[in-house]
Amino acid sequence: MPSDPEMSAAEQDQKTQAQLDSIALEIKAIQPLTSGLISIHGLQALFDDNTNFKKGCTYLSQSYASYRAIRGDGNCYYRAFLYCLCEKLFAEKGTELKRVMDYVKGSIDTVVQYGYDRFAIEMFHEEIVDLLEAVSSNDDFEIIHKMLNEENATSDYCVWYLRVITSAYLKADGDRFVHFLDDPNYFDIPTFCSREIDPMGREINMVGVLALAEAFSVKVEIEYLDGREMSEGKLTKHSFGNETSSLVFPLLYRPGHYDILY
């Protein structure tokens, strides 16, 4: 935005804020929280020819059929994780569903040890337990898909709770995770959590990805479509969490954003 010398700093700030708000509203209006499946070829059109991004799309179209777009509101990683969790557990409906259910049920006793007030978060906890129960009791995943697309409801509440789980997991092993902080602004885990993990709308980074995957003992596999030079025609791919887990969440990273791959 060009700055206008006639405008005071406060007016300028207000204008900037109004513009940010309107962008956020626009995103909300046109992007569902979690879309239906989109052909992987659709990604190609988003990038210019002869770039590493375009080449990366060619690789993706050989390995995957489609992707699910997640709303770009800074919560996309947590939302993608939540959706994958439901979808994979719905398909499994066995020992893993029971294991994850037991873990989630018991998690509130763990997180309150790290400074969260039980009465402030227990409803968010109940929400994710109810969601997993719906996964267990429904025969039609469309019902779960709808629940996860309702505005200001299940998906947001569960994202709050996943953020709390991530923070608590990081704080529980602060001595180890402090070495993974790749942001020069932070020197300790509690400050990092309260500024980057707890607030809604803050994008996750590597250490958060690692913590959440480990907390749930699942395997998160990320293809990095980040414009870097490819090796052997493939994108860089990293996996996090429990390498041997049968619950595998394949995600696509683009700078500042995550979607789900199929």
Binding site: D13, F119, M123, M200
Partner: protein, 167 residues
Amino acid sequence: MTEYGKELLRRQLAELNKNPIDLVSVGLKDDADLYDWEILIMGPDGTLYEGGFFKARLQFPPDFPNMPPTMTFESDMWHPNVYEDGKVCISILHPPGEDAMNAQESADERWRPILGVEQILISVISMLSDPNDESPANLDAAVQWRNDRPAFKKKVRQIVRKSQDMC
């Protein structure tokens, strides 16, 4: 999803009545409205506000807990972080996210849904013990706090006395 916010408030009110925090009692202005709380705050010992009984109101927006409540003193208040109309201006009561308005205030100090009402009340008590004159709401009070502490104390003693008379 207003029902969700209502249920959250109902639980937190019940909990704060069962296990009150020091120096604060909470209730509803009108029993039918969970979004409008009446608060009584006792000035913390060892601070200028010691001995005072300050009435305040905590009003929650329809989209609570996405957005924070506002807190307004109904008793007279003289404090750098309280506007002259009684509205409290501390970061935990500011909406989430980073904006251009206040560069000093980082996102961690602001409201986020996982904080409870209890955290707000604790922050208000701590505000009374420890005024922040970096980003004042009441400029006169802030200047006086910084430059003329005896006059500031005198003014606060007056409002403390007045609050005792009102009780």
